[in-house]
């Protein structure tokens, strides 16, 4: 610490007379506010102001910059738009399958890794965490090639006689969704695992000892002790993963480009397409944007209600 040594005796003696308390308090308040001003202003400009703009735009329609007010037309269109409904369905499918699978997998991994007698712990932990260093675009492109009709995955599956002909990982509507789910799970399981591992380190081991004496099996211990103990962190990670999945864009764009048809397209990608790929319709795109915001709020509330009743 480099606290400057300016504390001479003469300085102490010439301490300025205390100023009126009010102006001092005002000055302190101003200093406090000036510390937080830039950040608050920038968040206002780049988050809240655009959301207000989007709200206004969601009642407008037209191509490019020529927008005119159309009332609730966009919102009516939203519920009759088959593409929008497909993208919501796809996004929710990713969400309700991928998030629980990943969280369970991450929990299992962290419990196994938390075993005191385990060897090569560091290696396993690093290896499973490693996917987190990749950029979303880069790993998506790698997955696209791995899951190509003649890619390594199909080659391996055929070699071990699990399938007789290549699985259409990228071009079949069902398998394409599976590919996306597998990809996201690969990228994020290690990330979630790290959270659980650090939470597990704070769990008192004697609880497990007691459970063992009472004859609880490993599986019972997992569901009856580990999961309840980690509830807050599970809630946190599931909300983060939910918000992330609802915004899914990079993977779908680079693995399947939303195809085949629109069968893997997400809401984010639809907003992108509406604004920058098709004839731009910013007004309607803004309406779709609010759909994601509302979904995020709904899912977060559901998870809070489900996970935190007794807090």
């Amino acid at each position: 610490m480099n606290i400057p040594e300016k504390l001479g005796p003469e300085k102490l003696a010439k301490k300025p007379a205390p100023r009126p308390a009010r102006s001092l308090r005002l000055k302190n308040t101003l200093i406090g506010w000036s510390f937080v001003a830039v950040a608050s202003l920038l968040i206002g400009i780049f988050y809240f102001y655009p959301m207000v703009q989007a709200l206004i735009m969601s009642f407008q329609s037209g191509t490019g910059v020529n927008l005119s007010f159309v009332g609730f037309e966009n919102y009516i269109r939203l519920f009759q738009d088959p593409v929008f409904l497909t993208t919501v369905k796809n996004t929710v499918i990713y969400l309700i399958i991928q998030v629980p699978v990943m969280i369970l997998l991450a929990l299992f991994l962290s419990v196994v890794l938390n075993n005191k007698t385990l060897k090569w712990k560091g290696f396993f932990r690093t290896a499973i965490f490693l996917p987190c260093v990749t950029s979303l675009v880069a790993y998506s492109v790698v997955f696209k090639y791995l899951f190509a009709p003649d890619g390594i995955v199909n080659m391996t599956l055929m070699k071990i006689n699990l399938v007789s002909e290549p699985v259409q990982w990228l071009t079949d509507p069902f398998w394409a969704k599976i590919t996306i789910i597998l990809a996201i799970t690969w990228r994020w399981t290690g990330y979630n695992m790290i959270f659980y591992l650090s939470a597990l380190q704070n769990v008192d081991q004697s609880i497990y000892e007691a459970a063992k004496i009472d004859g609880a099996s490993a599986i019972q211990q997992f569901f009856k002790i580990t999961i309840p103990m980690l509830k807050p962190i599970i809630l946190f990670t599931s909300i983060t993963s939910t918000i992330g999945t609802l915004q899914l864009f990079d993977e779908v764009m680079n693995i399947t480009a939303g195809g085949p048809g629109n069968s893997t397209m997400t809401i984010s990608q639809y907003i992108y397409n509406l604004s920058f790929k098709y004839t731009p319709d910013f007004g309607y795109a803004a309406t779709v944007s609010y759909a994601i915001v509302i979904l995020i709020v709904i899912f977060s509330i559901i998870q809070f209600k489900a996970g935190g009743e007794k807090k």
């Binding site: 400057p4 510390f35 937080v36 492109v141 390594i152 790290i194 946190f236 992108y272």
Partner: protein, 274 residues
């Protein structure tokens, strides 16, 4: 029974580890092979490293893209850290009811998905382009500006400030330091690890950012690394060896940060839970 449990545990971990590592192995091996070797499923290193690198440098503007990404990531990191740490410090040290309300409003912005922001942001930058062309559409500044302030980072700094020994600040005041001086001369040097963790998450997020640059950058000379990789990946007759070379190069900076600063890296990732 105990032994079999152990075997299952090791088996499970080994399978997960192999699945996690395999794409990396494949990337690295494929960057040394020809495209047809890669399609044939060759999993051993070959001798075409130099050739793939040459091809890559000839086909795409790799160096300008790396430079753009580096400029954006460094600028974003420096500005973000400054803005967020000032705010996190301010919210905690000069705590007041009104500031807590502001802080909670700022936290709400974490719920806003970027997809919802991109259209109004694009229009915002579009409308300032004629007036201030240097921060308008298709400039690196336009990529940086909306990303330098995140509520998450402010929250991260505020949480860390809670642990900060407040007596040191009092000591600084008695020594006659101005409030801003206390921040820069006492707080910043003592919070090195927090800054390191914050720098890592911010740098990585910026280096890998895809959607906003895709929207706001248009000319090829402004391309960033994720845009370049994405373009390569969507080509109809991909040269696998060359593309893997590009992907490995793009992953290098974050991989290096990870291996040399693992502790801070993990701390940064987990910053939000305390």
């Amino acid at each position: 029974m105990k032994l079999s449990n152990k075997v299952i545990g090791y088996l499970f971990l080994s399978i997960c580890a192999i699945i996690s590592i395999f794409p990396f192995y494949w990337m690295v091996v494929s960057m040394t092979n020809t495209s047809s070797d890669v399609t044939r499923g060759k999993l051993l290193p070959g001798g075409h490293f130099i050739e793939n690198l040459k091809n890559l440098l000839q086909t795409v503007d790799l160096v300008p893209a790396l430079t753009n990404s580096a400029i954006i990531a460094v600028a974003t990191t420096v500005l973000s850290l400054l803005i967020a740490s000032l705010a996190g410090y301010g919210f905690e040290i000069y705590r007041s009811k009104a500031k807590d309300i502001v802080f909670n409003i700022l936290l709400l912005s974490m719920m806003i998905p970027f997809a919802a922001l991109m259209v109004p942001l694009f229009r915002m930058f579009g409308s300032i382009t004629p007036v201030l062309p240097f921060i308008g559409i298709d400039t690196l500044s336009a990529v940086v500006l909306p990303t330098i302030t995140t509520a998450f980072l402010i929250f991260f700094f505020r949480q860390s400030t809670k642990m900060f020994p407040k007596e040191i600040l009092e000591a600084g005041r008695i020594d006659g330091l101005k409030e801003i001086g206390i921040f820069f001369r006492i707080y910043v040097p003592t919070m090195k690890t927090t800054y390191a963790a914050a720098a890592i998450i911010t740098f990585m997020a910026s280096w890998n950012n895809y959607l906003w640059p895709l929207v706001v950058l248009q000319s090829p000379e402004n391309q960033t690394i994720p845009l370049l990789i994405s373009n390569l990946g969507s080509s109809y007759s991909p040269d696998y060896g060359m593309i893997m070379m590009a992907i490995v190069i793009a992953t290098m900076p974050t991989a290096i940060i990870f291996f040399f600063m693992q502790k801070h890296f993990v701390a940064g990732m987990m910053g939000s839970v305390k």
